[in-house]
Amino acid sequence: MDWAVEIEHLNKTYPENHVTALDDVSIAVKPNELFGLVGPDGAGKSTLFNILTTLLLPDSGHVTVLGMDVIADYKKVRSTIGYLPGVFSLYPDLTVEENLIFFATMYKSKISENMSIIKPIWRQLLPFKKRRAGKLSGGMKQKLALCCALIHKPTILFLDEPTTGVDPVSRKEFWEILKGIQQQDITVVVSTPYMDEATLCDRIALIQDGRIIEVATPSQIIDNFEGSLYTLTTDNIFGLLEIMKQCTLHCNYYPNGDQLHIVFYEDAATMASAFQQFLQEHQIEFRNMKRIAPNIEDCFIELVKPK
C-alpha cells in the first residue's frame, strides 16, 4: 500500500532541555483517512507535526509524506501539504481577503481556482471580508486559517490542535468541517488533547511522553480494553473518593463527572457485588450501578496507569 504518511522509528530529543520529545515513533496513515493523534499537552504532538511539515529535523528515523522524504524532498512536500499550526499564524494587519489572496499567490494559484474546496467555510467569513485578520474572533480566525491552508488544494492537511480551548459546541462544528474536507479526497491528520474527539476519527494514535501507546480504530481500542468497567452515580463524588482509600479490592477507580468509574480485572461480577457491599458498609448513597462500555478516555487511563 502507498501510505499517505509513513513514520518509522522516529526519534527527537531536545538536549538543551533534557527532553525526549519523540521516542521510537512509528505510524502509517492511509490515503484519504481522517487520522487523529490523541494525547495530552507535552506528549510530543507538535514536535511530530513540525517534522511531518518539514519544519524540524529528526534525530533519527525515516518519514515520508505522499511517498516523499521530508528531508530530501522537503520542497515538494511543502507544495503538496496544507498546515494549520497550533498558534495563529496569519497576518493580523492584512484583511481577511488579503490573507487568502496572499496564501493563494504563494502557491502560484488564485482564490477563484480552488474556491469550491473552501466555499462552505469561506461563506461564513464573507461578512468580514474587509476586516483585518487580527480583529476577528477566535473562531473566525481559525476558519480563515483553515481557508488559507486549503486554498492551494493540498493532498493532505495537517492540523495541530485546532480545537484546544474551544467550547464543546464550536468543537463539534469544527469536526463537521473536517469531515467535509475529508470528503473532498484530502487526507486529514489532526491532533487533539480531547479524548472525546477520538471517536470522530477513522483511526487514532494515542501518544504520551513521546511514545505511541496504541494505533487502531477507536472501536478496536475500546474492544481491547482489559477489564470490566462499572459506573455508579453519587451526589458526593469527592466524599466517595475519600472512602475509596479504604477499599482493598483489586480495582482501578476515578471520578467521571457525577459518576465513579471502577475497573475490575478478574471475576468482575463477584468483585462488583463485593464492592456494593463495601459501599453499603460505609453507608454510601449511590444509584445506577451498572457495567458500561468504556470510552476512549477510560482506555487512555487504563493504558497509561502505572503498572
Binding site: N17, H18, V19, G39, P40, D41, G42, A43, S137, G138, G139, E161, T164, G165, V166, D167, P168, V169, S170, R171, P193, M195, Q208, D235, I237, F238, L241, Y254, P255, N256, G257, D258, E297, F300, I301, V304, K305
Partner: protein
Amino acid sequence: MYSIVAENLTKKFGDFTSVDHINFQVKQGEIFGFLGANGAGKTTAIRMLCGLLRPTSGVATVAGYDVKTQAKFVKRHIGYMSQRFSLYNDLTLFENMQLFGTVYGIPKAELKDRIHQSLKELQMDDKANTLVYSIPLGWKQKLAFATAMLHRPQIVFLDEPTSGVDPIVRREFWNMIYHAASQGVTIFVTTHYMDEAEYCERISIMESGQLKIIGKPADIKAEMGVDSIADVFVKFVRR
C-alpha cells in the same frame, strides 16, 4: 456570607455589549463553575471581577471590596491561574513560588516556611531546586495552583486550569480544588470539559453576554430532563 456579588454588572466596548447586566452571588467555600461558549463574555466578566477592567455599569464586590473603587484590595485578596499563564520556566520551583509570594508581600521568613510546606503537600519537596521547564506539564499546573494559593487568598479564579492536561492529572487537579474549597477557599472556575462542570457545587452558563442559567448541576439536569451537563450546554449554546 458571599465572596462574590455581581449586580447588573455590564461592560460595553463601543456599541458592543460584552457583559450584559449579569447578577449572581458566590458563597464562601463554594466551587462555582462559569461556563459558556468562546466569545460569550466570560473573560471580560472575569477581568472585571479581578479588578483588571472597569465595569461600564453595575456593581461587583469581591472579598467584600468594590471592583470599581477598591481594585487594589480586590487584587490582594484573590488568587489567579490560567492555562496560558503558568510559571517561569527558567526559575526553579522554589524561585517561582518565592517570586509570586514576594509580589504578594508575604514576609520573608514566613514565605520560606509556606513554600516548603506547599511543596511537601505537592510531594515535590525534593524538586525545590529543579528548573520548572524540566518537570511534566501536569506538575506545572498543580504547582501553578499552589503558587496562586500561597498568599492564602479568599477566592481563587481558575481560567481553564486543566486545558490540554492528561485525564489522570486533570482528576488529581480537581482533587486539589476540592481540598482548597473544603478549607473555605472560594473557587471560581471556567472549563470546557463538561465532566468537570459536574464537580462544581453550582454552575452558570453565559451566552451573548448574559447569564442564561445558574444552579446546581443535578437540579439543572433534572429541570431540563437531560443526563449530563454536556447536553445542557448544547441546548443553551446551540446557534
